[in-house]
Symmetry: C2
Subunit: 330 residues, 2 copies
């Protein structure tokens, strides 16, 4: 018989289909067909003129290591009004105000983040922070989401390593709900739910993949899909961009090692990662706690998930966590 598990941070249930649970090694992806080549790649050095002008480059002199440019196909753009308007008598609309940027993570077309050095990953994290801090200065911005799409099943056809930053003029309802649950937990228990989660997972131990002074890496209890991975800072901090440099150095190691292990274990799978952080106006409260979620795209969301919000996971987080934990770090 399968098992229903409840995520304490979202209160969503998942089905762990343990009877048909696949062994961790069986999720290895088939080799990925090459979708683009260096030839036409607009993110490779020498083709800087094919992107919009950069908003940030690191370092400022000499050959670039990380570049940030507005997305040529931006979902949201600066300017416009945040006023809500009514159309067709009853429906609410507003301008697509915000920003949509691409972080070109490396000049090397074939260097996935999992195979970068610690310093290279650190550069990317610092760029995320700098752009977050710059974007939130726009008074129309309510929320900033930093994410990476790697591979076609994760929503990108561009091979060159890149991530994206979208600044939205609303705090999305999904983010509000996480926040409300964190607030209710705080009211009931007097502590942040993520701070408690770190302790609970440390005590249980069996879903821990890796740990450093400042971070815990887990396959969460109610993982929605196989090898879902959370990187949670141990210190309570609502906003990703408030992280100090020494923590980013640690995170660079932790993120790089985690992605490298996933790369080797699953054969460079398509994946997304998302930096979950507080809405801009809630950066300084004791409820929310930023963290990174990594989701290898090994399964397909289908009608059941769409109709119920309940995910079916065919892997046991305890088994996949052990599998990754026991792999060598390099």
């Amino acid at each position: 018989m399968s098992e229903l598990r409840r995520d304490p941070t979202t209160r969503e249930w998942v089905i762990i289909a343990s009877e048909r649970a696949a062994r961790p090694h069986s999720f290895r992806a088939p080799p990925r067909p090459r979708t683009t080549s260096r030839e036409g790649c607009p993110f490779c050095p020498g083709r800087e003129s094919e992107t919009p002008p950069e908003v940030l480059v690191r370092p400022q002199n000499g050959p670039w290591r990380v570049r940030v440019v507005p997305n040529l196909y931006a979902a949201l753009t600066p300017g416009g009004s945040t006023e809500r308007r009514i159309v067709d008598g009853h429906f609410m609309t507003m301008d697509g105000v915000g920003a949509h940027e691409v972080v070109i993570e490396t000049p090397d077309h074939e260097q996935p983040i999992g195979l970068m050095t610690k310093d290279e990953v650190f550069d990317i994290l610092v760029v995320y922070q700098q752009r977050y801090l710059a974007l939130k200065e726009d008074p129309s911005i309510r929320f900033v989401v930093i994410f990476k799409n790697h591979g076609p099943r994760a929503g990108t056809s561009l091979e060159h390593p890149h991530s994206q930053i979208v600044a939205t003029p609303i705090a999305p309802p999904q983010v509000r709900r996480r926040f409300e649950i964190a607030t209710e937990h705080y009211d009931a228990r007097g502590r942040c739910v993520y701070c408690e989660l770190v302790e609970w997972e440390q005590q249980a131990g069996r879903r821990v993949v890796m740990e450093s002074d400042g971070f815990l890496v887990i396959h969460p209890y109610a993982s929605r899909s196989p090898f879902e991975t959370w990187i949670v800072p141990k210190a309570h901090l609502p906003c990703f961009a408030s992280t100090k440099q020494e923590e980013f150095l640690q995170l660079a190691t932790i993120l790089g090692t985690t992605l490298r292990k996933i790369y080797h274990a699953l054969g460079d799978p398509d994946f997304n990662y998302i930096v979950h952080t507080a809405p801009v106006e809630d950066e300084d409260n004791p409820y929310f706690h930023w963290h990174v979620q990594i989701v290898p795209r090994l399964t397909t969301v289908a009608g059941f998930e769409m109709g119920s919000g309940i995910y079916i996971n065919t892997a046991l987080p305890e088994e996949t966590a052990r599998f990754i934990r026991e792999l060598p770090d390099d």
Copy 2:
């Protein structure tokens, strides 16, 4: 500049990226590779012994037209306890109690629902209703979701036309939220939000695809993806299974025609449909209103959607609705 639109039934925002909006005809899918053949198909006539014994067959005598069998890889199964238990000190779990059934919609391996006769579609709808009514008799069942996955991008590798029914021992949080929004709307306006939506869309007209005495078919104002289609009954009714036979006859025509138009317009695209209905214990209140959502799987959910819950739709619902509306019915 793009546009943000808010769905009045979920309060979720979507981005309509109208600047890069694709024209409706450009979403036509590439031809689908054949994934299975009649040869090994466990749902074809003559191989009834390869499925678990049927729980319903129609008609009861003679060659079957529709068969319902337990899913061989059931996510939830009858029996077990609905008691919540705590594991690892703090995490909530319960048995995977429920049911997971497959509706084999036709003996014909290559007969998609969009090309069936009205009577064939009617048979399927009546079977959905009969199984819903049977499953809810189990006191452990709180919610029943009826859905169809068509094609690999929609989560199935089995070609033979089939849909699925999952009965869950919880009312999922996502369903509760829709319900709460409908209840709040009812409290504020004294009417069901879906009843009002039908009138709003009839008045606006430009997102209407089709209409009959009892049903309205729309591409909703805040469509999350291109060609998302809702079939909404005009009469207020919380529970799908309370629908009367004459309405099912109408729905058979409406559903068949809608899927046939999508089949021809988009080249037999992968799609899901979901019957949204009230939780079992809320079947008789004035707030919720059952409806069908059809979602062609033309785009990929990526990091932005996962991190914000905001979908980016590159098609204008007004344009896709007109495109489908102007196609011939057959």
